[in-house]
Amino acid sequence: MSLALVIAGLALTSCSGLASLALRRAPELAQRAASAVLVAGATLGVAGAATTLWTGGATEVHARWSVPGGSLALRLDALAALFLLPVFALPAAGSVYGIAYFPQARRGAQAVRLQLLYGLVTGAMALVVVAANAMAFLAAWEVMALSGFLLVFTEHEKQDAQRAAFVYLTATHVGTLALFALFSVLGSAAGSFDFGRIAQAGLAATPGVFLLALGGFGIKAGLMPLHFWLPGAHAAAPSHVSAIMSGVLLKTGLYGLLRVTGLFAAPPAWWGLALLVAGAVSAVLGVAFALAQHDLKRLLAYHSVENVGIIAMGLGLALVGRAVGDPALAVLGFAGGALHVVNHALFKALLFLGAGAVDHACGTRELDRLGGLARAMPFTAGLFLLGAVAISGLPPLNGFVSEWLVYLGSLRALSSAAPVVAWTALAAPALALVGGLAAACFAKVVGTVFLGSPRSDLETRPHEAPRAMLAPMAALAAACVVIGLFPALLLPALHHASAAWARLTPAASDTAARDAISAARAVTAAAAGFLAAAGLLASWRRRRARGAPTAETWGCGYTRPTPRMQYTGSSFAEMLTLRFGWAFFPRARVDPPRGAFPHHAAFSSHVPDTVLDVALVPVLRSASWGAEHVRRLHRGQVQWQALLVGLALVTLLAWRFLWW
């Protein structure tokens, strides 16, 4: 039943864009219709997923598919259901947002294409999650990746979009090739490409399998250093596309990792350790790179790297837990990681939509040109601030809850007697550092964009976002608040999902889950305490401050401050980015003031992506240079071509007759 709901949702969302194509004579109606169909499909899907998630268990269907090794096997278990929630919910929010953000009436064919792909990518993601056969999985995977590529490609007249689309396409394809190898190895060892059969085959957990999975899925998930495609792609895409790309598309990589590790009864501990280390590196460096950015969307994109890192840390702990047979560790790590999947989807989508609203209103995403938007767009500012608090992992919002669960996992490891496990507790300080840096970064973002006063004259007068854009943001924000305040409600569902993945004995994991639930209730209590205290203080303050006079900001004796003198985002983060000088290769352009009465002086700096711009691009460039030189050897003369034939003959004869 629930699988049928999901399939119906999948079909509806995939086809939703057709409405905007069919009705393109009446663009406004068309877009609304497309959005309505998508929302309806998503609702069905969410309903199906939620049922499975809260009841546990699994449903599946099998159909024949004639391609070699393929079968249309779909399976909905709690793990899949967990991922289905954001997969369906986010695009629904995004498509409503798109009505105002990317109106078909103005964008025409571009918007039609976008909506077709928006629905398609949603359906493909859902199919990835429910696919239970490697061929179906790969097909859905690539449809998803390619629609993602075409979505980045939407505004392909722009230079940076072209580059981003190319980098994204190649990165995702290389990842897919690794997955080909992965499933080929698994499938040929198990004699079937059905996940169920592979799981039953009891395959040996070889290093090759894990490395291929980590590589292939890691690229999609954006784990450092495989994240290089991500900042450009997320920045170049329209904001509601960035929202689903960052919010859910990345997560399919993590889902894949979970699915594949779930195929093995006892993955070795080093798998978990490797994932943990990769996660920690991604989290710390991701947030560090984010701090150094001055483009709002690029910054948010790097935060995706960070959050994927946090999720990977949780999942790594869970893997270690499975390896050493510690169900509590497995449950806690998994719950933290998996809940963070949902949470990150919610607040990152909220932030990207907010960033889109800013871009929409101001025509720029350059942090250091913005400022003081909280006056012009108070609702956007408030919602964005809420998202910022959530993503920084601060209580009482949802980000805190999932990070806290990851902490619980690592603390569980801390009390373990096994040395290997105990050492994994060192993830916690890394997470603490990440939390501090993330808060710093979002202080920078909110402070620079929404607070203070405008730093430059914008072409347009900033205005509040229209209701169609605010409503989805408000919905996402509400979800963040609810999860933050009542985490105990979600834990049974997370427990079901972890049981579906980890093959735990119910009794042992039940205890861990019950403990976590009672602790989560205490978190609710603390949050209530905080809200009560804040409410009391606020009402007291409100009474005291009524009719307070206003004045200029105290300038410390300086009498003619201008908005341009405000601290910029770059200067705010400078002290912290200095700490990561070893990982950054900033490019600065300095035009220093000259002479006694300098006329013009300028300074601009930019921190390029180390992996892409400092490592990959030069390597590829030199490879291209090398290829060029090899090609020069190839002459145009026909004699040379004939000689090649002769040489090939002689060489083959020599090889086959002298060597044989």
Partner: protein, 474 residues
């Protein structure tokens, strides 16, 4: 069976004789449709071998002939639109040559006799060489000369190899025949050294025709200068029948107990082709030459699959079909781009998705398909070949295969994206050469077929691939 060979020949004669520039292309259409109908009839009736066993609609032919026929029919439709745009050129030789080519390809596909096979393959070279010179430019002339000379050279070596095979079976108790059935039946009675030597000569000879590296050098020149329609038929049809010929040679080797000898050479040459194609595709500035190297790559993949044997060989058979159809899409779309921009340099062509709303995206889709993106059908065949490598424990081969695929993807992607994306304003333009139905629909149909084969592969076709792989044996 003779009908599918003779009907195009007869129409070629008609085309040579016909006086009207405008009506002559219709001969192509008629020929293509008659051939298609004939092949469909063959497919359904499964006729017995004809001409004393020299011609047979065997599984290998069942793989390649329908694909070639469909490709030709589609190209014939395309030719109606294409030739209408080139009224300045005398199309007598063009139309006649294409029909002779169709007939020759059919003979190759059906031939069970190595001598007849050779004659027909040489005929494919001779019938297409003048067509490369269709544009009557110095560059196309050069390409034609190189094509003619290098291919003839290779084919001459193949003839020598064929004679070696004959000699191997000429001893007492030998079959003294060049019929495949006789040779395979003789098996171990064949003289092993001569089989080996013959295999090497035939590999070089038919490898030249297929365009395996390093025997591929004529390919970028010929494909680069030939009209898109001819590129499609060469890359989709002629190379495929060349591959089938090689598969028949390999079948004899297997029967003679020389599998190991043949396999290493096939795998080595296949990987070398992929590697060289990768090197030549990085930073390629000419998109038609890029397609030529893609063809080299895919011939390498086919050879690799053939060399790996078993499931990989079945994958290679499937891939023959996929590659042929997809190459058709790419060359026809590339031809449209070339016409519209009057240039095939990457520096001149941009914003194709905007200017040619069908051909531009088709080119992109064709690129994605040919590089093995699911759910397009080439993915499934490439995956089968990969499975063959990894499942057989050839991890190094599998790894190299993937590495080359990824390099090629990056190289090809850079070129294709530069062409497709961006704003076409300011790029050179030839007026009135936008997408029309006659030129845009044919590649679209092929693309739909490629997608369809990926989503739904009829059981009948699948068993043909398996039967073909079993036929090659080993």
């Amino acid at each position: 069976m003779l009908f599918v060979i003779l009907a195009p020949l007869a129409l070629a004669a008609v085309a040579f004789a016909a006086p009207s520039q405008v009506r002559r292309p219709l001969a192509l259409l008629v020929g293509g449709l008659l051939h298609l109908a004939g092949v469909a009839f063959l497919w359904v009736t499964r006729p017995a071998p004809a001409l004393g066993g020299w011609l047979e609609f065997d599984p290998l032919a069942r793989v390649v002939l329908p694909m070639t026929s469909v490709l030709f029919a589609v190209c014939a439709v395309y030719a109606q639109g294409y030739l209408k745009r080139r009224p300045d050129r005398d199309n007598r030789i063009f139309v006649g040559g294409l029909l002779v080519l169709l007939s020759a390809m059919t003979v190759v596909a059906l031939s069970q006799h190595l001598g007849l096979l050779w004659v027909a393959i040489e005929l494919t070279t001779l019938s297409t060489a003048p067509l490369i010179y269709f544009d009557k430019t110095a560059r196309s002339l050069e390409a034609a000369w190189k094509y003619l000379l290098v291919c003839s050279l290779g084919i001459a070596l193949a003839l020598l190899g064929t004679f070696f095979f004959a000699l191997a079976g000429a001893g007492p108790g030998g079959p003294r025949s060049l019929l495949l059935a006789d040779l395979t039946r003789a098996g171990a009675a064949l003289s092993s050294p001569w089989i080996r030597a013959g295999f090497v000569f035939l590999l070089v000879g038919y490898g030249t025709k297929m365009g395996l590296a390093p025997l591929h050098s004529w390919k970028p020149d010929a494909y680069g200068e030939a009209p898109g329609i001819l590129g499609a038929l060469l890359a989709g049809g002629v190379t495929s029948v060349g591959f089938i010929s090689l598969a028949r040679v390999v079948r004899v080797c297997h029967a003679a107990g020389e599998s190991a000898f043949a396999r290493d050479a096939l795998v080595g040459l296949g990987l070398l082709s992929m590697a060289l194609a990768a090197v030549f595709m990085i930073g390629q500035r000419d998109f038609k030459r890029m397609l030529a190297y893609s063809s080299v790559e895919h011939m390498g993949i086919l050879t690799l699959g053939l060399g790996l044997g078993g499931a990989a060989a079945a994958g290679a058979m499937f891939h023959t079909v996929n590659n042929g159809l997809t190459k058709g899409v790419l060359f026809l779309a590339a031809g449209n781009l070339h016409r519209s921009y009057g240039s095939k340099r990457v520096d001149d062509v941009r914003g194709a998705a905007r200017r040619l709303p069908i051909s531009g995206p088709l080119f992109l889709a064709g690129f994605l398909a040919i590089t093995g993106s699911p759910p397009f059908s080439p993915f499934f065949s490439e995956f089968a070949i990969l499975n063959g490598a990894l499942g057989g424990g050839r991890y190094v081969v599998g790894a190299l295969f993937l590495v080359f695929l990824s390099i090629i993807f990056v190289g090809m992607g850079a070129t294709v994206l530069k062409i497709v994306q961006g704003d076409p304003a300011g790029a050179p333009e030839v007026k009135a050469h936008g997408d029309s139905w006659l030129t845009a629909a044919p590649p679209l149909v092929l693309m739909a077929l490629v997608l369809l084969l990926g989503l739904f592969l009829p059981q009948g076709l699948k068993s043909v691939f398996d039967a073909a792989a079993a036929r090659v044996g080993g």
